[in-house]
């Protein structure tokens, strides 16, 4: 059963060294509950470690890591969403709702932690594919590579990215123009 090799361990270590922080951010973006998030993070790492038994360099390490991580996270969403009352929304609905959740009126300053909290809250509410695109784009992955990870056409990814940027910039630019909903 444990047909793992030293090479597999080494590839896992290399992947975590390069993309470990991105995996932590991914887990938080998929799971709001800290306890469940830790389970998800462990599942992602286990899936990644196991996956290197089949890694054949046909794609880049980055594409491989993100595919495995997002697939493991998507499985997690499928497993857990029945227990959750809220449903996921699309970028269209986020736009209709006015973008990100409103900030706390008692604390108007846009502190970095506050910005990130609101950003995570918005990402967690998105459907899996919009969520993947926004996460990968925030990690600095280009449109073509996002298409390789997600399976969505590059044109479609570009359209989604444009809309994501519109939503995010409208909400985050300097903070002072934030609308009062």
């Amino acid at each position: 059963m444990l047909d793992t090799t030293a090479a597999q361990d080494e590839q896992y270590r290399q992947a975590v060294a390069d993309y470990g922080p991105a995996l932590v951010r991914l887990a938080r973006a998929y799971e709001a509950n800290p306890d469940t998030r830790q389970d998800l993070l462990q599942d992602v790492h286990l899936a990644l470690w196991r996956s290197f038994a089949g890694f054949d360099n046909r794609c880049s390490l980055r594409t491989w890591v993100y595919r495995v991580a997002h697939n493991a996270a998507a499985s997690h969403v499928l497993r857990t969403r029945r227990a959750k009352t809220g449903s996921h929304v699309s970028l269209d609905e986020i736009e209709e709702q006015g973008g990100l959740p409103a900030r706390d009126e008692n604390h108007p300053s846009l502190e970095q932690a506050q910005i990130l909290d609101r950003l995570y809250a918005m990402i967690q509410s998105l459907n899996p594919f919009d969520r993947q695109v926004i996460l990968l784009y925030l990690e600095g992955v280009d449109a073509v590579s996002i298409g390789e990870v997600t399976g969505i056409s590059a044109g479609n990814v570009a359209t989604k990215i444009h809309r994501i940027k519109t939503i995010l910039i409208g909400r985050f630019r300097n903070g002072e123009n934030h609308d009062q909903r």
Partner: protein, 200 residues
């Protein structure tokens, strides 16, 4: 500040946010993998044990019970359980395949992976697997219920009517609920197919 600059700042903030690092040691990974496999083994073993135990019990009832309808109902349950045991074996094979697919999930883009998961879940709620479960349970329950109604005196007859009523009422409900569930999965699969075909 331009839009691109604003967004670059946001990306920088995202990528440099303070967070603790996380890594699992080789021992932790192997231990977790072993535990998962052990849990799977125990679960599968339990299902096999329950199925085989029920087959044995109902085989004994076929021999021991006095009335013909009871023997027929027990035989139906026994055949059904034997069928279920076969289904469990098939399900275990599918789970193994699913695990292999998960391990190679780096070769699958998210769209293909997600679609395969949805198809698997849809399959549980409709098609051969669902109808075989219905075909397995309903005749046995009806034979039991009708047999009790016909051959057993009052007030025990009430139990027979209850079994028949519940079976007649629950069957269309179960079919409808499973149909709705499978429809919901199909809707998501169609949305993924549309997303795959969409260029913009």
């Amino acid at each position: 500040m331009t839009s691109d600059n604003s967004f670059t700042n946001l990306c920088n903030l995202w990528q440099t946010q303070p967070q603790r690092s996380f890594q699992m040691s080789s021992e932790e990974l192997r231990t977790k993998w072993k535990r998962l496999n052990r849990e799977l083994l125990i679960r599968n073993g339990t299902v096999w044990f329950v199925c085989l135990f029920e087959i044995a019990v109902f085989a004994w009832l076929v021999i021991e019970l006095p009335q013909l309808f009871m023997k027929i109902a027990s035989a139906l349950v026994m055949v059904g359980m034997a069928y279920m045991t076969g289904q469990v074996a098939l399900d275990q094979r599918n789970r193994r395949l699913s695990r292999i697919r998960a391990e190679a999930s780096g070769n699958l883009n998210s769209l293909d992976f997600f679609r395969a998961e949805l198809e698997r879940q849809r399959g549980f709620h409709r098609g051969a697997w669902f109808w075989s479960r219905m075909a397995l349970l309903m005749p046995a329950m009806l034979v039991w219920g009708i047999g009790v109604v016909v051959f057993v005196p009052w007030p025990e007859k009430i139990a027979g009517w209850s079994i028949v009523s519940v079976t007649v009422f629950l069957t269309p409900l179960a079919i409808q609920l499973n149909y709705l569930k499978s429809k919901s999965y199909q809707k998501q699969i169609d949305a993924l197919d549309a997303l795959r075909q969409s260029k913009t």
